[in-house]
């Protein structure tokens, strides 16, 4: 693969806690990805549209407000509407364990809580894109 992996880091909903999103965005850039960060207060439509325009391989959603079970399916729907079914979707934030299986069932490739090492996220992305780690 010649082209750099492109990742959209996005914050859906009203939650403004953007520390994690920014740290991840920078860590993924340092890991060699092309990273686009949307900023806060994005609607599912805005995120899917940005994913389409930026032609990304991965969408990372950061949600700390507890609204993940409402927002994640809507983002997935909007991605599908735009034919972006194969985009790898990751979710990070304050996510209770009991919600994780449901998110994975919806098609999310990985869920990451506080205390995640950035290398774990890179590993998940590489695996989901079917690439071997160097």
């Amino acid at each position: 693969m010649d082209r750099k992996v492109r990742v959209l880091v996005a914050k859906p909903g009203l939650d403004g806690h953007d520390r994690g999103a920014k740290v991840i965005a920078r860590a993924l850039r340092d890991a060699g990805y092309e990273v686009i960060y949307t900023g806060i207060r994005q609607t599912p439509e805005m995120i899917a549209e940005a994913a389409l325009q930026e032609d990304v391989d991965v969408v990372g959603l950061s949600i700390l407000s507890g609204a993940h079970m409402a927002l994640v399916p809507r983002v997935l729907d909007e991605l599908k509407k735009r034919g972006l079914d194969d985009v790898v979707v990751l979710v990070g934030g304050i996510i209770p364990d009991e919600d994780v299986p449901a998110l994975l069932d919806m098609g999310v490739a990985g869920v990451f809580g506080p205390g995640t090492l950035t290398s774990e996220i890179v590993e998940t992305i590489e695996k989901a894109l079917g690439r071997e780690l160097a």
Partner: protein, 561 residues
């Protein structure tokens, strides 16, 4: 007058050098130290040993003074916790007003001494529960308050004239405060006796938490309107809680938290002075809210430095004469960002250490986080343990028996001095940028925070910093933490109430009140008065904020990472 005399210091210096060349050298040859460099949670280098040589010009009266007196380094009260313990104030709120009302009553029964309200995201952003922007957010990280009707239920059966209530609300602070005032008046209390705090610190929202709505200028006008209103009408109310908490949680170091918070405080002082208010009338009602993180001594030093810097600035720079204007009174909360999702019970210990630091730092009130907060909203059991942690510190540890027990520790005094110097350096930088608002608009603060947050994460990733259960002592065990169950019908109940309010109120009166609010917003009169009128006729939060959004516009921050 320096505490240590020249001759004594010289002798000590000789002793120190002898020790270094003999005892210490032998030890290091036999056993090198565990780490190449030792540092605080904020990456501040820490020396092996602190002696009077590190604080050679230490002047007790200049630097510390006596408790309850300028510069208040040792605390704002002369007897501190011997007179009265700190207020144990647990931040709570979720779901509907009914559910949170139950939690408040539970906490008061458990011996909590003040209330602290968490609002949900839509409320924080000035939307009614049923607004399209609010989808999925109802009641998740606080209670929904869309109109006076919700506020009345939230405090039902709680005597609003007798409790003190802190409300974490910023962009819509004026409106939520007005709802509180009107609800208390309906319970039969005079607004002049009400005690409590509105956070009302919009600058740290732009810097860190990002719950801003309007551009900085009208946002500052709203803050100054509330300060002016409080100064005239609410003598026991803290009109702003100038907050470092969120700045720290967003990634700041202890020094950045200290400096940016105080810089915000100075900006509010200057705005109120520009409005023509007398400093000694409003400054005593400014309060603070600091984070208390893992690094025990640095945190204690931060509180002590904060009091000293504020007192000096208020007296010497702004010319305040009332000692109450010099006093930095603060609330503290243990660090949410320091909690781990892994092995959550370990968080009980983290919180205990942080809480102890807040008490040794001389806080006036304290929230202790619950062990399950890295996973979800705290359960009742987790909250109770967190409250008990404070009660154990208060009654069993002995630290409340004497005032500022760590004063005179060479290390703590050195750290206190260093933090003050760091803060002064940041103040000069901010001034050179053109002030706090300019710093926000150019992304200065956001960049500083992002940089520190990234460095911290990399230290963990590279195992330069050990976090138990995260990158060391890792255990693959299932997490067994009971998760708070919320009323599944809560949303429907809240929306039904909102619709009932809209149907049953006098809609002509609401329209008139909203028109008057709009006119006032376009002019320069104090907005608290028309807001109170609109609240009384049950205008909703979303309607009032809608009017202000129309007049003031919405702010979009520069995006980068």
């Amino acid at each position: 007058m320096p505490l240590f005399n020249e001759e004594h210091l010289q002798r000590l210096s000789q002793t120190f050098n002898r020790w270094k060349d003999t005892t210490l050298r032998k030890t290091l040859e036999r056993r090198p130290e565990r780490l190449k460099k030792f540092m605080t949670t904020s990456s501040r280098p820490v020396s092996r040993l602190y002696t009077p040589l590190d604080i050679a010009d230490f002047d007790y009266e200049q630097q510390l003074g006596m408790p309850g007196e300028f510069p208040f380094t040792r605390g704002v009260h002369s007897t501190m916790y011997r007179g009265r313990l700190w207020t144990m104030r647990m931040f709570a709120g979720f779901g509907t007003a009914e559910e949170t009302n139950q939690r408040f009553k539970y906490l008061l029964e458990q011996g909590q001494t003040g209330l602290s309200v968490a609002f949900d995201m839509p409320t924080l952003y000035g939307y009614d529960t049923d607004a399209p922007e609010a989808v999925g957010e109802f009641g998740k990280c606080g209670v929904a308050v869309s109109s006076l009707a919700d506020m009345e239920i939230l405090f039902d059966g709680i005597p609003m004239g007798e409790v003190s209530t802190s409300m974490t609300i910023n962009s819509p602070a004026a409106i939520i405060w007005a709802m509180y005032i009107v609800a208390a008046e309906k319970q039969g209390y005079d607004r002049r006796i009400l005690r409590g705090t509105i956070q009302n610190d919009i600058l740290k929202e732009f810097i860190a938490q990002k719950e801003f709505i309007f551009p900085p200028e009208p946002s500052m006008r709203l803050v100054t309107d509330t300060v002016e209103f409080g100064t005239h009408e609410m003598p026991y109310w803290n009109t702003i809680s100038i907050s470092g908490y969120h700045i720290r949680e967003a990634g700041a170091t202890a020094a950045q938290e200290l400096a940016f918070t105080l810089a915000d405080g100075f900006a509010y002082v200057e705005a109120a002075l520009e409005r023509g208010l007398d400093i000694d009338a409003f400054a005593p009602r400014f309060s603070f809210f600091f984070n208390v993180h893992n690094d025990f001594f640095e945190e204690i030093a931060k509180f002590r430095a904060a009091r000293r810097i504020w007192a000096r600035a208020m007296k010497e720079k702004y010319g305040a004469q009332n000692p109450r204007s010099w006093m930095l009174r603060t609330h503290a909360q243990t660090s949410g960002a320091s909690l781990t999702a892994q092995q959550p019970e370990n968080n009980i210990v983290r919180v205990a250490i942080q809480a102890l630091a807040a008490v040794l730092g001389g806080t006036q009130s304290l929230h202790t986080n619950s062990m399950d907060e890295a996973l979800a909203l705290p359960s009742e059991k987790a909250v109770t343990i967190a409250l008990r942690t404070q009660q154990i510190i208060a009654h069993e540890s002995g630290v409340a028996n004497t005032v500022d027990p760590l004063a005179g520790s060479y290390f703590v005094e050195k750290l206190t001095d260093e933090l003050e110097e760091d803060a002064n350096r940041y103040f000069r930088q901010i001034e050179a940028l053109g002030g706090v608002i300019r710093g926000i608009e150019t992304g200065y603060f956001q960049r500083e925070l992002a940089e520190s947050a990234y460095r911290y994460q990399m230290e963990i990733d590279n195992r330069e910093r050990i976090i138990v259960g995260v990158n060391e002592y890792v255990a693959e065990e299932p997490i067994e933490i009971p998760i708070l169950e919320m009323d599944p019908q809560g949303y429907e109940r809240q929306v039904a109430r909102l619709n009932r309010v809209r149907a049953e109120r006098d809609n002509g009166a609401v329209e008139k009140a909203l028109r008057e609010l709009e006119d006032a917003a376009r002019g320069d009169e104090n907005l608290m008065y028309p807001i109170i009128e609109a609240v009384k006729v049950y205008a909703t939060l979303g309607e009032m904020m809608g009017v202000l959004r129309k007049v003031f516009g919405e702010y979009h921050e520069p995006v980068f990472f």
